[in-house]
């Protein structure tokens, strides 16, 4: 995690791992976008190949993030830290309230 404070813009980046068995399919993607849209910051999400808008359901669905894959979340704006924290909690702690492997 890196937080960098300038006059009013904060940039915050964090890597998260997809933990639910089915990966980032449509319903988890919708929850992700829902939470991302609660924040004023610009949010982008990337894997090795693609960088997409974290507030667009179509773009998030394009990541095809399977269980175990890692995504980088980047937020830029006044509430960047809060946004990244909330999204990390959804992905890693709550794993979208879906089953994880072996359970």
């Amino acid at each position: 995690m890196a937080g960098e404070k300038t006059l009013e813009k904060v940039v915050c980046e964090m890597e998260v791992e997809i933990k639910n068995s089915d990966g980032l399919h449509m319903r988890p993607a919708m929850r992700f976008v829902d939470i991302a849209n609660r924040f004023d910051s610009e949010i982008s999400v990337s894997n090795d190949q693609t960088n997409v808008d974290g507030k667009s359901i179509m773009q998030i669905s394009m990541l095809a993030a399977t269980c175990g894959s890692k995504l980088k979340i980047r937020a830029e704006g006044p509430d960047a830290q809060e946004a990244v924290d909330a999204l990390r909690e959804l992905v890693e702690d709550k794993h979208f309230d879906e089953p994880v492997p072996g359970k």
Binding site: S21, D22, G23, M58, Q59, S61, M62, A65
Partner: protein
């Protein structure tokens, strides 16, 4: 992943008779049954499972497209079918607009990663305004097949 890998082109419906969501889903599932991609006795069950999934959260993602889908034990490999409606169908979409293009998917229960690859393929193309427009304008099943095969071959997308 390419459209040609999972879309059943013989079952394409370019003018859906149904004017509502559940009717459109049933029509597309029946089309898959008619061409032999789904067993006769299970198509009803598949259609209700898709409707149930749709009731939980709409797959009408906005911009006139919907991707109704379900995991079902009756299929061994993922299969998709395209349905179009010029009048538009209310899918309770996120942007509340009627849906003109439907890509319905049935996935096996044990291959979540392949399901994600198919979604990636679909949204990579549906994000393009031009693709959405061309798909919606298809008047014959052959046009849909040509468009999707051409999209598969496009190295820029």
């Amino acid at each position: 992943m390419k459209f040609a890998d999972y879309v059943c082109f013989e079952a394409t419906i370019t003018e859906l008779q149904a004017d509502n969501r559940d009717g459109a889903i049933k029509e597309l599932v029946s089309a898959l049954e008619k061409v032999g991609r789904l067993g006769k006795r299970i198509s009803k069950d598949v259609a209700s499972a898709i409707i149930k999934r749709e009731n939980e959260a709409s797959t009408g993602m906005g911009k006139g497209v919907a991707i109704p889908h379900v995991k079902h034990k009756s299929v061994k490999d993922i299969v998709g079918v395209v349905g179009l409606s010029s009048a538009g169908i209310d899918f309770f979409a996120l942007d509340k607009h009627p849906v003109h293009s439907i890509i319905l998917l049935i996935s096996p229960t044990d291959d979540p990663d392949k399901h994600l690859q198919v979604m990636e393929n679909i949204f990579r193309h549906l994000q393009q305004e031009k693709f959405r427009k061309f798909l919606r304008q298809c008047r014959k099943p052959e046009h849909v097949e040509d468009l999707l095969v051409e999209a598969d071959e496009d190295p820029f997308i």
